[in-house]
């Protein structure tokens, strides 16, 4: 998932780009959430005490709906405006990676059958989790009833989130996938939909600061991410994060690094058929809907529709659905808080310390 070891590279080389933040600091912001990632998290994390997924009376899993419903309410109650982006067709380049993931799932299914203890069954069961088409459709239906915008990306959801953030349609992209940075989202929020906020506070990554502190251009950064290992091509044998960063700073592009390694010989080699140019194109021009064609509109929830769907079809408790819907109505009626940084220009520390005082004096 995402870029191999990118978080560590960023925290080592650009610590200033990572900020631990809280709900309060995000109040009033619009965020684009990678729905596919969230659903996957819910299916894994929202479980009963015995470790099995929550299910309705017909035995069908409801973990994804419970997660979506309650966590979205919490996001709204904290004053944020979420929009969910769903995956479309994965890029052709990803097919190898997806095959690998399927193979892992199959292996886990097998291990599960062989597993002796319930603990093992539980562990392997989590590894077999895959978000089905029906679960995706149910989540979309739920969100629409809740009055939350649903965006269906033509390609990867995190790329679409990044495009929306880049065009200032939303403040940030919220996902765990680090390749959102590679797709060019100015701000990435991690752990926004995580379960217990106290255990994992929201982490905010700022792409501009990553580039600034690592002294890389955006092109160099994308190339670096490809070198580190992404979902779209095999990693280079022997190319760890330290080497990748060092080579990128010295040679500035994969083409030049490849030429250098070819010339130098040695163990670490970039194969001739490595499709990095196609991957690079994918990161720079991903398959997305242009931001100006995406309409984000938050409306009041359809309470009766929610009751019909969640209570009658899925067996949720009616009281809880109604009180949740009331929270949504309340959340959508509260006017968002403005920010001074939206009104006034931010400048860095003045060069000479006596300047701001002088300015203030002149103002008096």
């Amino acid at each position: 998932m995402g870029i191999k070891g990118l978080y560590k590279v960023v925290s080592d080389h650009a610590p200033g780009a990572i900020r631990i933040t809280d709900w309060k600091a995000l109040g009033g912001r619009k965020v684009a959430i990678d729905a596919s990632m969230s659903l996957y998290q819910f299916l894994i994390a929202v479980r009963q005490n015995d470790g099995f997924q929550l299910a309705g009376s017909d035995g069908e899993t409801t973990s994804h709906l419970i997660g979506m419903f309650y966590r979205t309410i919490r996001i709204i109650e904290n004053g944020l405006k979420p929009a969910y982006v769903f995956d479309g067709k994965p890029p052709d380049l990803k097919s190898e990676e997806l095959k690998k993931r399927d193979a892992l799932r199959e292996k886990a299914t097998k291990s599960k059958e062989d597993a002796a203890t319930s603990e093992d069954v539980n562990r392997f069961e989590r590894r077999t989790v895959k978000v089905t088409r029906e679960q995706n459709e149910e989540a979309k239906k739920l969100l629409r009833l809740m009055g939350i915008p649903v965006i269906e990306a033509p390609g990867e959801a995190e790329a679409q989130c990044a495009i929306l953030a880049k065009a200032n349609k939303v403040y940030a992209a919220a996902t765990e996938d680090m390749d959102t940075l590679t797709f060019g989202s100015p701000i990435l929020l991690r752990h926004l939909t995580a379960g217990d906020q106290k255990k994992s506070p929201i982490t905010e990554l700022n792409t501009g600061k990553v580039l600034e502190e690592m002294r890389l251009s955006r092109e160099e950064f994308v190339d670096l991410c490809i070198l580190l290992g992404c979902d779209y091509c095999d990693p280079i044998r022997g190319m760890g994060p330290t080497t990748a960063v060092k080579l990128m700073k010295e040679f500035h592009s994969i083409d030049k690094i490849k030429a250098h390694l070819d010339e130098k010989g040695g163990k670490v080699q970039i194969p001739d058929d490595w499709p990095y140019e196609a991957v690079r194109k994918l990161f720079h021009e991903p398959d997305t809907t242009p931001a100006d064609q995406v309409e984000l509109k938050w409306t009041d929830p359809d309470v009766e529709g929610l009751v019909e769907f969640l209570v009658k079809e899925k067996g949720f408790s009616e009281d809880r659905v109604r009180s949740g819907a009331a929270k949504l109505t309340k959340g959508s009626s509260v006017a968002p808080q403005g920010r001074l940084t939206d009104f006034f220009k931010v400048s860095k520390r003045p060069a000479t310390p006596d300047k701001p005082a002088n300015k203030k004096k002149a103002k008096k």
């Binding site: 309060k24 600091a25 109040g27 009033g28 509109k297 938050w298 409306t299 959508s332 009626s333 509260v334 006017a335 968002p336 808080q337 403005g338 920010r339 001074l340 940084t341 939206d342 009104f343 006034f344 220009k345 931010v346 400048s347 860095k348 520390r349 003045p350 000479t352 310390p353 006596d354 701001p356 005082a357 002088n358 203030k360 004096k361 103002k363 008096k364």
Partner: protein
């Protein structure tokens, strides 16, 4: 170097207590004209701007600009060790990494000295353009604080409307709603109870009450407060000091389109 003396420590204690809840670490810039501080709160909703002119000190010397990077809460902790009528001295050498505070009891022979470590803080500053506000209201600081406290029982937001009839504070919540209206007036005996409104056009803005009540902690610093507002812009709220001011820029709630 900086050397500044106040005849009563309470002057600085009150200021620091008023602003500490909103601020963490920030830089105090010192030069020959006085001390200045500008800092955003963590959520970027309120900007605190403090100016202590050199005239406000009984003795003041600062030949070259000094930046004091401080944790305001640490400063408050140290200042609590001073009695209100102690003589307070702030001292910092050029390029020193500490601020020395001395508290002298004017009657007895006690002198306490505290050294606060300074920090190198990479701080963001906001450039605030010079603006003419649509409405300016001068009123009693205590009355404003009380009014907002009353309304905070009802809601987390207050709406302030200013027109030529006066200034109106209102809030609405699950309990119900409430409002207080003040007409412009002149009180000859107690000048601070006067309400003076200057208006070029009517204004209506909503603010978060939690932050507003933090701002009104500065009521202990001045008998009157000046509210300046323009529709769709941050409000400026100023408490005058004998020489200088504590000024807040406060971002309003965005009213126009709740779904946008």
């Amino acid at each position: 170097m900086l050397e500044a003396k106040l005849d009563a420590a309470s002057q600085l204690k009150k200021i620091v207590e008023a602003i500490r809840d909103m601020l963490g670490e920030c830089n105090i810039e010192c030069n020959e004209t006085g001390l200045a501080l500008q800092s955003l709160d963590k959520s970027h909703i309120v900007l605190v701007s403090l100016l202590l002119g050199s005239d406000g000190f009984s003795e003041y010397r600062c030949d070259r600009g000094v930046t004091l990077g401080l944790n305001i809460n640490s400063l408050a902790t140290v200042l609590r060790c001073a009695n209100n009528d102690d003589i307070l001295t702030l001292r910092s050498e050029d390029r020193a990494n500490e601020l020395i505070l001395t508290f002298e009891d004017s009657k007895a022979d006690r002198i306490s000295e505290f050294n606060l470590r300074l920090m190198d803080i990479d701080q963001e500053y906001l450039a605030i353009p010079e603006t003419e506000y649509a409405a300016t209201v001068v009123m009693s600081a205590a009355v404003l604080q009380r009014t907002l406290r009353d309304l905070s029982a009802l809601s987390e937001a207050v709406t302030i409307e200013i027109d030529k009839e006066g200034i109106r504070f209102s809030a609405e919540g699950d309990l119900g709603k409430g409002s207080t209206h003040f007409k412009p007036c002149v009180d000859m005996e107690n000048a601070e109870n006067s309400i003076n409104i200057t208006l070029s056009e009517p204004v209506s803005l909503s603010f978060n009450l939690q932050y507003f009540s933090n701002i009104t902690k500065a009521s202990s610093l001045s008998s009157t407060v000046t509210l300046q507002m323009t529709a769709g812009m941050p409000a400026q709220i100023e408490y005058k000091l004998p020489s200088g001011h504590v000024r807040y820029y406060f971002a309003p709630k965005i009213e126009d389109d709740p779904y946008a």
